[in-house]
């Protein structure tokens, strides 16, 4: 049997606001991938919505971590820590 392609699975839980990556699996096509995801990753009522995407379509950052992400570290003005919030405004 020719090896089935790999799929990445994203699940949104009942309270969840967005889909979260939960793992991967093999399937012949998208329909089968969703069925398989239901059986492999939603056995304990974890989700109300499933996304699958073939792993080969996911592109990842490959650059050296430090050089790629560090420049954002020393720009304090990007963090909104300078504002005085009125007491009436809660949960900000």
């Amino acid at each position: 049997m020719k090896e089935w392609p790999l799929w990445e699975v994203f699940i949104r839980s009942k309270q969840g606001l967005s889909h979260k990556h939960v793992g991967s699996l093999h399937a012949a096509d998208a329909a089968m991938a969703i069925e398989n995801a239901r059986d492999v990753y939603c056995r304990r009522n974890e989700g109300i919505s499933i996304w699958v995407v073939e792993s080969k379509y996911i592109h990842a950052s490959t650059e050296d971590q430090e050089a790629f992400f560090d420049p954002s570290n020393d720009k304090v003005y990007r963090h909104p820590t300078f504002y005085k919030l009125p007491d009436e405004v809660k949960h900000m």
């Binding site: 049997m1 699996l25 093999h26 399937a27 012949a28 089968m32 069925e35 398989n36 059986d39 492999v40």
Partner: protein, 249 residues
């Protein structure tokens, strides 16, 4: 209006024996994902079997538990249809057996929702959600493999033709079922027959598989006359409780 012991026993035995058959795939599935999928279905059916056999034991009123009924009866005392005890063979036989049974199971539970036996109606409501998915699963695999490669098509058609003679029993009522239907406890199987046929015809057509023309049907399971396969299932399933009665772990 409670159903009869034998009527409920038969429903429980169908679920129990098919569950056991599917559980034999555990660890042997063609891929991990399908291994898990079949095990899920096996566990759904086992849950249904537990509810039904527990209820059957209560109806009988002789203190037999679900375990007593599952582990301490011989083949001729089992009332399951012949279809569910047929061997797993290859993936095609497993899927076709499942599809034929799921189509029956689905319409049967749908009708059982209106049973005048409230306990059975409640079990049907819970089970129908599971069975709806089973039918979707086995239908999709039937279509996928029937309309797949030359090899998968050939295997599926062979399985359809091999198992066909065990399908008549599903929708041919025996006296116990006629009594249950008259009492409003169980569905009228003669009404389920056309629903079953329509569904099977629709899926086989989409799967590019030929609807069998043979009309000779094997029967007897519902009255305790089984194929030789059931004995082997029981030998495995009952071994522990037969060798060490009452053992728990």
């Amino acid at each position: 209006m409670p159903a009869s012991f034998f009527y409920v026993l038969q429903l429980g035995d169908n679920a129990l024996i098919l569950s056991h058959r599917l559980s034999q795939w555990c660890g042997h599935g063609p891929v991990l994902e399908q291994d898990i999928a079949l095990t899920n279905i096996a566990l759904d059916l086992l849950g249904q079997a537990r509810l039904l056999l527990t209820y059957a034991g209560e109806l009988e009123g002789q203190g037999r538990s679900e375990d007593d009924l599952a582990y301490f009866r011989d083949a001729h005392q089992f009332r399951n249809v012949l279809l569910v005890e047929q061997p797993n063979d290859d993936w095609a036989h497993t899927i076709v057996r499942q599809f034929f049974f799921d189509a029956y199971h689905y319409y049967h539970y749908q009708a059982l929702l209106h049973s005048r036996d409230e306990r059975l109606a409640a079990i049907a409501e819970k089970a129908l959600k599971e069975v709806t998915y089973h039918l979707r699963y086995s239908s999709e695999w039937t279509i996928r493999l029937g309309d797949g490669t030359e090899e998968s098509h050939r295997r599926m058609q062979t399985a359809v033709d091999d198992l066909w003679m065990f399908t008549g029993e599903l929708t041919t009522p025996i006296p116990i079922e006629r009594e249950a239907a008259e009492a409003g406890v169980g569905p009228d199987l003669t009404q389920i027959k056309p629903q079953w046929e329509a569904k099977v015809r629709e899926v086989l057509q989409e799967a590019t598989l030929a609807f069998p023309t043979s009309s000779w049907m094997q029967s007897g399971g519902k009255e305790g006359r089984h194929t030789e396969h059931l004995g082997y299932i029981l030998a495995e399933m009952q071994f522990l409780q037969r060798a060490y009665p009452g053992l728990q772990w």
